[in-house]
Assembly symmetry: C2
Homo-oligomer: 729 residues x 2
């Protein structure tokens, strides 16, 4: 509950606000100067004019239909819900078209709709479909979150048309609509308003933006510092708490993208109206970092689907289009333009015009996707999300997830990983079990299987102890504990990271070390995975690999279920797995090869002890309504063990090209794999394509300059965290 000194400094600045400017509109995301430029731009060919024409056509078409402001009745996805959503979008769009065309019919349409709302709003009770105890109710919508979003847009629409209104219209709209809705969202909903959570962000943004339009700067103060203006709640506190210092949002990219919208929008509005607050410099530029991090958390235009995430969400979502547009307006970073180009959407604002003109002039430069560990938590020390990238015959990305739980949308997947290559998922995460807005699928909400499958540990690529889920599936326990990032280090060819958690299971310590390598002298990337488990008690350890593709071969015999499929287990997600095949490979190197739709083969080579087994599964059991996707996995199972180390290597290889009728390198080039622990140093030796490499990784807490390791009878110094050496033949 600390209040940063910067808060106080900012409070001091308040007095310098130019109150006179309150009568000049528009003044939120779009300034009067912007409007001048935009009116000029729509007279010239280019992206901006195209976007304007498309928007105007859409608005013209919608305005042929009579205004409809229905009495709120339906929940999410229902008619009145969707109508009120469409209304705010139409008001916003008609408002900007009014500013650009100066044609009063657009202003009149917005005015008439606002007057209808001003008639309706004061009569409304809380929404009939509110979910008591589950979410804060709205009046127009079943939850107050939608109400705040509505106000973020509608306050801007009002800002656009204000100059066209008579004094009495203005009076009616402000007293009938804006004052009561702000009151409802702020003083009448103190818990949400003060909440350090994305619902709070939408609410404070909505109230603050309305405050700027109406000249009610007290509302702005409350939006920034909480209802009591103490700084314990409010927008700035949210900026302090909800992002890590690097701009990573605790719930993961899917919700980061969503949360970004009010942060970016309100920050831009503050910047326009009170530049002296230096909001974009706040917390070392946290808003811009949050935008950039959202981009970094993507692969091939889609967000990494950790936690509850709809997998088709990517960088072209409107939230990030807004974010990139505003960030470019501030920074003129040409790398952002290549992202904007792939977003292929032009925003009708002053910043949108800058982006459009820059793209018209082909100023874009490649955006640099980084290999990086994003610290998690407001201090950046509550675990981390690690992204390793490479470009070896196609872009690879490895995501390693020793993050904190990520609140209610977090999954119980400590130390899980995902792998991507040539544009596709190779080792995958299920994401959320949800068909967004599809009424027939549980009303379009999170499916029951989101809890029974998608959040469970077995649905991820990490160790499950005794078929139990991490933290016994307790969000509270998960939020209270997080993994520790032991190290993250890299050089030109190698990225290595290691993390540990001792609290996922009582009495079991889980340490995972992952490395992404490019083998010098071979056009070959490899993922090395060392999963070390320590326990004084006997347990069963399952390590799944949820692979994407068609199983091609195994170098061991399979006992496949031919005429009947049983389920793998009874609970914790196991009840959703069909047991398709089993195998107990002999001691040595076990290899499993699959073919991805990108046309490449992938082989997982594991060191087996002759006792562990493989289980091949498919999702889909206990799924009466066909809610789950029938995806495949194999599980390395070690029974009745105390300490155990799973060691494996994932190798992309070859190409399957039935169109051009060739297949090359369908067989793994890895022929040997060994692992020894020499004090704190893991030494992995890999024979691949007739060459032999050793990867040494020092897991010591602090590095010792005299450390060394021995391989093939020869001793090598290891002063740093790791070394990759090519052994003589």
């Amino acid at each position: 509950m600390k209040i940063l000194p910067l808060f106080l400094a900012t409070i001091g600045l308040m007095l310098s606000v130019n109150l006179a400017s309150a009568s000049e509109h528009p003044k939120l995301l779009v300034s009067q100067a912007d409007v001048v430029d935009m009116r000029a731009a729509i007279k010239k060919e280019g992206l901006f004019k195209q976007a304007y024409q498309s928007k105007k056509t859409s608005v013209d078409q919608q305005m042929t239909v009579a205004i409809n402001v229905p009495l709120p009745k339906d929940g999410g996805g229902g008619y009145t819900h969707e109508r009120h959503k469409k209304n705010y979008k139409l008001m916003y769009d008609a408002g900007i078209v009014y500013q650009l065309t100066q044609d009063k019919k657009y202003a009149a349409h917005v005015r008439d709709m606002l007057l209808s709302y001003a008639d309706l709003y004061p009569t409304l009770p809380v929404h009939p479909k509110r979910k008591v105890g589950k979410q804060n109710p709205g009046k127009l919508f079943w939850q107050s979150l939608n109400e705040a979003v509505w106000l973020v847009y509608t306050s801007q629409a009002y800002d656009f048309i204000l100059p066209s209104l008579s004094a009495s219209e203005k009076e009616k709209i402000e007293t009938g609509l804006f004052h009561p809705i702000v009151k409802f969202l702020s003083v009448e909903s103190p818990a949400t308003f003060n909440k350090v959570h994305n619902h709070g962000t939408w609410t404070t943004a909505a109230v603050g933006m309305t405050g700027y339009v109406l000249g009610e700067l007290e509302w702005v103060e409350q939006a920034l510092y909480g209802l009591d203006k103490s700084g314990k709640g409010g927008f700035l506190r949210q900026l302090d708490e909800l992002f890590s210092p690097q701009g990573y949002y605790n719930e993961g990219p899917y919700y980061q993208r969503y949360a970004l919208m009010p942060f970016v929008t309100f920050a831009k509005v503050i910047q326009e109206n009170q530049p002296e607050r230096k909001i974009f410099e706040y917390r070392d530029g946290i808003v811009l970092k949050a935008i950039d991090t959202t981009i970094q958390l993507s692969y091939n235009k889609l967000f990494f689907p950790i936690n509850d995430a709809i997998k088709s969400k990517g960088i072209d979502t409107i939230e990030l289009v807004n974010g990139v547009t505003i960030a470019y307006g501030l920074t003129k970073d040409a790398g952002l333009l290549s992202i904007a180009k792939s977003q292929n959407q032009t925003i009708l604002t002053g910043d949108g015009l800058k982006v459009a003109q820059a793209l018209d002039n082909s100023l874009e430069q490649p955006y640099h996707f980084k290999t990086i560990a994003f610290g998690d938590g407001n201090d950046g020390k509550q675990g981390a999300l690690v992204i390793m990238r490479q470009d070896v015959g196609g872009e690879q990305a490895l995501l390693f997830k020793p993050t904190a739980q990520g609140l209610g949308h977090g999954h119980f997947d400590k130390l899980t990983w995902q792998f991507y290559d040539r544009g596709e998922e190779i080792v995958s995460d299920y994401g959320a079990a949800r068909f967004l807005n599809v009424e027939a699928k549980f009303g379009g909400r999170y499916l029951p299987e989101n809890n029974t499958w998608a959040k469970q540990t077995i649905a991820h690529n990490t160790v499950v102890v005794d078929e139990e889920t991490h933290f016994n599936a307790s969000v509270k326990k998960g939020n209270a504990n997080h993994p520790e990032l032991l190290f993250f280090d890299k050089n030109e060819n190698v990225t290595v990271s290691s993390a540990r958690i001792d609290s996922a299971y009582e009495g079991v310590s889980l340490t995972r070390t992952m490395a992404l390598l490019e083998l010098p002298s071979l056009e070959q990337s490899l993922v090395v995975d060392i999963f070390d488990i320590q326990s004084d008690e006997v347990h069963q350890y399952d390590l799944p690999v949820h692979y994407k593709g068609h199983l091609i071969s195994t170098n061991f015999d399979l006992a496949t279920q031919l005429t009947s499929l049983p389920i793998l287990g009874e609970k914790n997600g196991y009840q959703h797995l069909w047991l398709k095949s089993q195998a107990q490979p002999k001691a040595g190197l076990s290899q499993i090869t699959w073919l991805n739709k990108n046309g490449r083969f992938y082989t997982q080579s594991s060191i087996m002890d002759g006792d562990a087994s493989f289980i091949f599964t498919q999702i889909g059991a206990n799924d009466p309504f066909f809610n789950l996707r029938n995806e495949d996995a194999f599980i390395n199972r070690k029974k009745e063990s105390k300490n155990h180390t799973f060691v494996s290597v994932l190798e992309p290889h070859g190409e399957y090209n039935p169109s051009k009728e060739f297949t090359i390198d369908a067989v793994s080039k890895v022929t040997q794999l060994a692992h020894v622990k020499q004090k704190n140093i893991d030494v992995i030796t890999i024979s691949v394509d007739k060459q032999q490499y050793a990867l040494a990784i020092n897991n010591a807490k602090s590095l010792n300059k005299n450390a060394s390791f021995t391989v093939a009878g020869k001793t090598y110094p290891l002063t740093g965290r790791f070394a990759l050496i090519k052994l003589a033949q």
Copy 2:
């Protein structure tokens, strides 16, 4: 065994061949005049220069490796097999680069390789990996087909470098290599050479092309008219027999594409060397029709995967690139250019240059995909392949398949259908069970499951009687019987076709009528399917729909297998199906909705009698090595029935867009469906989106001008084959 008069006419023309030109090279696909143009073209920027440079770089790189002409040892996919394939490609490529650069090192490389072959070839016995009784053996390759392909390329390579050779080199290569290989492929393999089959086409093309290069016009005669020059075998006979009059190849598009290569190549060579044969006018222009039909047999750049077909094969395959290039050279049809553009490959020939220059100048026009029935068989009367196309909010294609069996690669799928929309498969065909050239998957050959699953009737979207496959899976019986196309008719909004087969099952008559509709006044396409079965005996009838997508909802209760999956049957493909769920909907309209990856919903609405049931299945049982794709189907099952009519409507609707967070029209708009038979007229009434339509189809053998039908108490005349009327509300 008729010999067409044109044959005799062509034989007469032989005498006019200009023997003097035999000393001028190159003279096969590329003429000396072409070479002049091509040498000029590589000095200017454009597609042709790019293709040349890329080819030259590849050749330069391959020429850094020593020539290797290994003793034949391995079967398909093995080292020596692949090496000899690479050798002919390299010789061809180095040959054309020699012609373009005039740099003798390229000719020398080809020469040295040919000399090595000339040393080796006379010493070779038939290939050690030949498959006795299964395929005709080669010497360099395990089957003579590969040997013929090798010669088609190598004869051209020789043609390119001939001017660079000394007399003794020429002598050695011709006597050591070309004479013996031609002898081996012709007089020593009379069965293959004379066979009216694509293996025969490759062989006659190879021998004929070599004949032109070496000036051995007797070989050309044999190639054209068979070894005995009677016209009972040979290239012209193949052109008569293997294509229907419209250019449809009996085995379907996958093999049509493959067969096309020698037809097109040899035809072009004949045209260049003996234009007086007017080969491209032969049989009313059958070669060009075959090329065009191959394009027509595609959707979204991929071939319709009927019969044994690898599904990723499409119009960018080299065979069709060659075909389109040569066809454009002859016709200058700008529609072909848009196909060439999407193929994105430039051939280094005179025609390739014409295509490249036309594309450089953006001369391409849209290619017109047609709604058409391609008659099957050499007379075009052995059934038909029907393609219906539409563009209603995205391109739709319906394939209806009352074709003949299509020889050994044909599937037992009489009257099956497939449906495509917005670029994706919606109602699909499994294609072939094969991982081409993937050694681990049954040596890359057709998998055992190609017979046990992919060819079986249940693997297709057509009726299975008593769980038996059409013709009891006898290829011989299939080849001897074919469906009858009853009619094919269309107008602006409707295409209708009907076909019957009485021989697939003894004592059972199967008649299917399919229609693709665009409903006037609604932006709505519909597929109507009436499958009528007549029998005097009691049978079980299964009608599967192999759907692509995720099951969203059913309007009836499902009894889903939750904890154990049984198999559906014991044989004829049923043994590969897991029984996932069952339902016995009550009488009336049953609806099944799925969501395709194209983001659209599809609902199959069926008229149920309260007695029939639905079975939901997944492929994958009895599949010990994970050879099959785990795809989904539902089966409408009617037990213990004599006559039965399955009536259903498939309806694309709505959109699922989780990226932009909206879902519209996820629920079917079809609310009622009825079917009555009024004499020979099927009358289907459909209520959709609050409107009611009637579709009447007259199945009478010959139309009666006085025919009429009655719907909702009103009588309508039906002078034509069908009528679609909108009923008053």
